[in-house]
Amino acid sequence: MKKTNKKKETGKKTRITCVINKKIYSFNVHPMMRALDLIREEAELTGTKEGCGAGECGACSIILDGKLVNSCLIPAIDLDGGDILTVEGISEKNKLSKIQKSFLERGGAQCGFCTPGMIMASYDLLKRYKNPTLKDVKEGLSGNICRCTGYTKIFDAVLSMKKIMKK
């Protein structure tokens, strides 16, 4: 989608248009609004979570124009013309995607709060690495903090995807 050049007055809302999970949305955004707020409150997609608001924990991870980003650090206005994927877009028609199924079967989620971000990061990792090693997985997920699992079963879930991908 093409980005438009709009004059932004201080405090005045700007109209933006973007695609979220293959659906087109238009919003009036306040200049101080974060992408996270737009997704959770305006688009009412509450799967993406806020854990720290400072880009440290990764609970707010989304994929924007093919890149994994912390939506708490992205100004909502920057989503104009963007192609966004959130956790709600990972499963299709109430059916779990392969990575979500793998997490479910291997105990990759406990309290579930870091899970949406962790799924996005895993999804992104598996797009970039066809055959990730444990080291690749550890590095690739290091921007997503989990306090419950000790990561061990998350590694299991992601690494077991190698077999599935091979099939």
Partner: protein, 763 residues
């Protein structure tokens, strides 16, 4: 990742306990559909904020409301609550009546809440928060445990003591006089933040006729109900507390939610019933909520030259912060684990929780035991060196055996051979071979990476201490809905540990049906009975047992009344029989109340007897590498072996151990809460460091089972166990890697690279 072998559940399994049944609420957590409190909003809702003291001690003199800058700002539009608005009692009902919901005049700790604000607009609310100035006449605060112990200042009673215990067995003075040697040591642990990824949050609605309803993130709905009824002077039926999906707790949401719920409810009350949402951001949550108690332990041990311990004199001190909250119970658990898994005929334990002007400390997984077990497991290394035997042999010489008594004269009867448990752990971790190899490699001066291996042996008593479970008198059970599905009724909360799944498995086996026919009712005080708090590793062992008993009785009720006559039946057949029963009798519901097993005897007055129904026993082994250039310590490999009665769900049980070990690694090496003038200043992920995936070692989890007579299919509690032994195993490994000069080098945690730097510099 090596773990015990386990199979993913197959469709045809009829027995569910022991299988890795899929997480009951797993699908919604993975799709993002699970609803946490901040995912919910109500029409006409206000947002709430808290105005707090910036200084740790003093008297409130004045509150000024400065003018707002923007056109939209008007103080008229704000709901403002102070202590005078409280309809009931201004204290947080828990144990002691000392902690106010809102300070009236005295400030006893930084971040103490003074006023509450609410507004429709989050931005204007934040603007308002910065415009309120609270003038406090400063008083000199008491900010460390040491200062409080040494009575640098008296801020409570005559000695700053919030609670104390003295436990004695035999004759310690005689033992210390007669022993071949007396080994002394001092051990310290610091604050630790629970750091659940979901911050504390509540939504409250006050209704003049119906009462108050609060939804939120919490571990104990009935604790919140007790506190809010007291705050508003309302009967329990007028206060409804509902647990939302909770993103982690670890004890940090045991008592604190009562405060946040009360605050949100007060604002809704003042706002004429408008819903009020209060969600802390990370910096507020880390700065104001409870943390693990810092500790100071002094050991004086009477040991004979063959390594036999004949007496332990222990002083155990905790920094409780400004109010009692749960400190008396943390102290109790700490002291009861202070002697470790060892037999000693002569004991004296002096335990005290001290008051300081720090924010009150509270529950964090382990609850006093991580502190006292750190001390004893470090101290055993000192004793081993003095006696001249290996770590493992010293422990084998002193382990409790069935028939031995603990410090409170409880007779151990768990049928667990600790010597065999240690040997199992040593074998699985290749301990002896690695110890020799590392010794050899470390000797080379050119070796800039030193390696070490260390072990810890410990136990954890699940359930409330002593007569605690008797007083809780928990009630839980099962019922059948109109849809013919089984519903589990309990107030215990799912926070990731797997309670929904475990309860379903236990009930399924008891009823002879599959987990798919079972629903776990959302903890809502209007719907579920009070089965006690979700703490103390009690949920599976105590409440799971009540669920099992109730389920068995439900099945018997059907069979005794000529329903369900078949030996084997399908889920559909079971469901149909239930519906038939309900049609005839109106309801099918069985609730069971906890009754203390007759053989468990505890004397609260003398603090003697069976402190816990049973213990889970463990041996942990840590392998570390230390970089002498960067001063970083890395845990390379970890072996966690524990005896747990019965593994109800292997994947969930392993998950609990792995997550607990990760928190324990943080406790030892990364997590340092830094305070300045009584306030937490590293209140963010940026410089309060917890493990990332990249820091995680290979964790090998192994289980042994010695069934507990009173646990569901023999299960014991395991949630807190890993926090007890992880840190000392790591520090023991560091000591092995670097050697010890007996100058208290590795006897305090957290032990950061800068701490290692200063140790190496001194030596």
């Amino acid at each position: 990742m090596k773990t015990t072998s386990r199979k993913l559940v197959k469709e045809s399994t009829t027995k569910f306990v022991g299988e890795s049944v899929l997480r009951k609420e797993g699908i919604q957590k993975l799709t993002g559909d699970a609803k946490y409190i901040d995912d919910v909003k109500f029409p006409n809702m206000l947002y709430g904020a808290t105005i707090r003291s910036k200084i740790p001690r003093g008297k409130i003199k004045n509150v000024t409301f400065k003018d707002g800058a923007s056109d939209k700002f008007s103080w008229q539009d704000f709901i403002i609550v102070d202590y005078k608005d409280i309809p009931g009692e201004n204290y947080v009902a828990l144990i002691e009546k000392d902690q106010p919901y809102l300070a009236s005049e005295k400030i006893n700790h930084a971040e103490e809440p003074i006023l509450l604000l609410a507004h429709e607009d989050k931005d204007l609310l934040e603007e308002a928060r910065r415009l309120i100035e609270v003038e406090v006449e400063k008083e000199e605060p008491l900010l460390t445990l040491k200062d409080s112990l040494e009575k640098i200042k008296i801020i409570k009673g005559s000695d700053n003591v919030l609670k104390s215990y003295l436990v004695e067995k035999g004759d310690i003075e005689k033992a210390l006089k007669e022993a071949d040697m007396v080994i002394e040591g001092v051990y310290e642990t610091g604050l630790q933040e629970q750091l659940y990824i979901e911050n504390n949050g509540m939504i409250a609605v006050f209704n003049k006729k119906d009462g108050i309803t609060v939804w939120g993130s919490m571990q104990c709905p009935y604790y919140v109900q007790k506190a809010v009824t007291n705050l508003f002077n309302l009967p329990p039926e007028k206060v409804r507390i509902v647990q939302m999906e909770t993103g982690g707790g670890f004890g940090g949401k045991e008592d604190f939610p009562s405060i946040l719920a009360g605050h949100a409810a007060l604002l809704s009350y003042k706002a004429g019933g408008r819903p009020v949402k209060m969600i802390y951001d990370r910096s507020e949550d880390m700065a104001v909520t409870t943390k693990r108690h810092p500790s100071f332990t002094r050991h004086k041990t009477a040991v004979n030259k063959d390594g036999k311990i004949i007496g332990m004199d222990i002083e155990f001190y905790l920094d409780g912060g400004a109010y009692l909250t749960l400190s008396s119970v943390v102290l109790s658990r700490g002291l009861l684990h202070a002697t470790g898994p060892y037999f000693t005929p002569n004991v004296k334990i002096t335990a005290k929780a001290l008051m300081t002007n720090n924010p009150p400390n509270g529950a964090f997984r382990g609850f006093g035991a991580p502190q006292s077990v750190f001390a004893i497991e470090r101290h055993m290394e000192k004793i081993a060196r003095a006696v001249g035997i290996t770590s493992e042999n010293l422990r084998k010489k002193n382990f409790l055996k069935d028939g031995d008594t603990t410090a409170t004269k409880q007779i151990i009867n768990d049928k667990v051979d600790l010597k065999k448990l240690v040997d199992h752990a040593l074998k699985e971790s290749d301990f002896l071979k690695k110890r020799n190899l590392f010794d050899k490699e470390n000797r080379k001066d050119s070796q800039m990476i030193k390696k070490g291996i260390g072990l810890s042996c410990f136990m954890h008593g699940a359930g409330f201490t002593g007569s605690g479970e008797k007083y809780l008198a928990s009630v839980a059970g099962v019922t059948v809905g109109g849809d013919g599905r089984i519903k589990i009724l309990a107030a215990n909360t799912e926070m990731g540990q797997g309670k929904n799944t475990v309860f379903s498995q236990i009930a399924a086996d008891a009823l002879g049906i599959s987990v798919d026919l079972i629903d776990v009712v959302q903890p809502d005080t209007a719907v579920v009975p009070n089965s006690g708090p979700t703490v103390a590793s009690r949920t599976t062992m105590i409440v799971g047992k009540l669920v099992e008993t109730a389920a068995k009785e439900l099945k018997e009720r059907l069979q005794d009344n000529n329903y369900l006559q078949k030996k084997g039946y399908s889920d559909d057949e079971f469901s149909l029989e239930c519906k038939k029963y309900i049609k005839k009798n109106g309801e099918l519901k069985i609730l069971k109340r906890y009754d203390i097993p007759p053989e468990i005897k505890w004397d609260e007055e003398r603090y003697e007897g069976d402190a816990y129904g049973t213990f889970a026993w463990a041996v942990y082994i840590a392998e570390v590498s230390i970089d002498l250039v960067t001063f970083q310590t890395k845990v390379e490999r970890f072996t966690a072996l524990q005896e747990v009665g019965k593994v109800v769900n292997p994947i969930l049980a392993e998950g609990q151990i792995e997550g607990g070990v990760a928190q324990g690694i943080g406790y030892a090496l990364y997590e340092k809460v830094i305070c300045k003038e009584g306030r937490v200043i590293n209140n963010g992920f940026t410089n309060y460091i917890v493990l990332t995936s990249d820091d995680t070692p290979d964790i090998k989890v192994l289980f042994e089972e010695s069934p507990y007579r009173h646990g569901p299919q023999g299960a014991k509690g395991i949630g807190e166990l890993p926090l007890d032994g992880t840190a000392p195993a790591i520090m023991n490994a560091i000591e092995h890697a670097l050697g010890c000069k007996n100058k208290n080098e590795f006897n305090y945690i957290p032990f950061l690279p800068e701490d290692l730097f200063s140790v190496l510099e001194k030596n």
